[in-house]
Amino acid sequence: MSRAPIQFRDSSRISAELFCLTYGSLVAQLLHDYETDEDVTKQLETMGYNIGVRLIEDFLSHTSSPKCQDFTDAMTVVVKDGFRIYLGVVPSLTNWSADAKECSIMIDQNPLTTWVELPENHPRLFYSTLLCGVVRGCLEMVNYRVEAKFVKDVLCGDEATEMRVKLLEVLHDSAPSDD
């Protein structure tokens, strides 16, 4: 029972096609199981969150980037390292709000949607919402509680795919319980 450690340089370790098709059938099954697109989105987000809280440990244990000083810093790492390592793309980080608490991740090339076309009865389904959950889960484990959601998606006919991330709260070390 020994497993080879993750080879970060070799990003084609699993077939991207297999991954995309698996994700596609997952979404299709959810559409089958739930009534509304909102419910499906919610499920995808929760699944992503559960992935995120684990994925962050894998990420931290294999990278030696210094501890992030602030939210801007953390978002840069998410985009430049997180997306690059796990999805093989580097999205751009734009549209920062004046207080530096909100920003947009513009995903030009979304590997999840290579072969996807939304059916007509789901015109506003944000297909890749799983990624929002992953981002939320990861950031929460390093003390940034955020809200992440897609506001634009090329699949829905928008000109770009945009994930909006909003910082809700910076968490602190929880003190030992009092007894």
């Binding site: 450690p5 809280v53 440990e57 894998d58 244990s61 294999h62 003390n143 070390d173 003190a175 319980s177």
Partner: protein
């Protein structure tokens, strides 16, 4: 001399739950890992970290790595996600930060995080985890 120089190991999560405890040679009978004992350990680590942060003239990057008493040395490593890895050893043992990082990457991530049956934040009960940790610690050059 055939003395086990590594005494015990603790793993705490960000909330202070003791996820795992293992010992190779108990320091004294009085230090059995009761709940009160692990709480005391976590409270001490928490306070020590706070103190290090407050007393440091510049913002500290890693906090503290170890301390010594007359009878043991405590080695400490904390991840950005708030996991705290602790090894208590004999006084002569050199820096074990690398070993703690290896426990994180090669044991915790591989055999707890990637185990779908493991619930994040719950104590680890996996025998495989225990075995792998034991192998890693026994393979350390200071484990004699």
């Amino acid at each position: 001399r055939a003395v086990v120089m590594i005494f015990n190991f603790y793993l705490f999560d960000r909330k202070g739950t003791c996820l795992f405890y293992q010992e190779w040679r108990r320091i004294s009978k009085a230090s059995a890992p009761t709940e009160g004992h692990t709480k005391l350990m976590f409270g001490m680590l928490y306070s020590l970290k706070k103190m290090v942060q407050q007393f440091s003239p510049v913002p500290p990057k890693v906090g503290f790595g170890s301390y010594k008493t007359e009878s043991y040395k405590l080695h400490y490593f904390e991840t950005a996600s708030g996991l705290r890895f602790v090894l208590n050893t004999d006084l002569v043992v050199p820096d074990l930060t690398e070993a703690l990082k290896n426990i994180y990457a090669q044991v915790y991530v591989e055999y707890a995080v990637k185990n779908p049956l493991y619930v994040v934040g719950e104590p680890i009960t996996s025998e495989l985890f225990r075995t792998k940790l034991d192998e890693l610690v026994r393979a350390l050059s200071v484990f004699a």
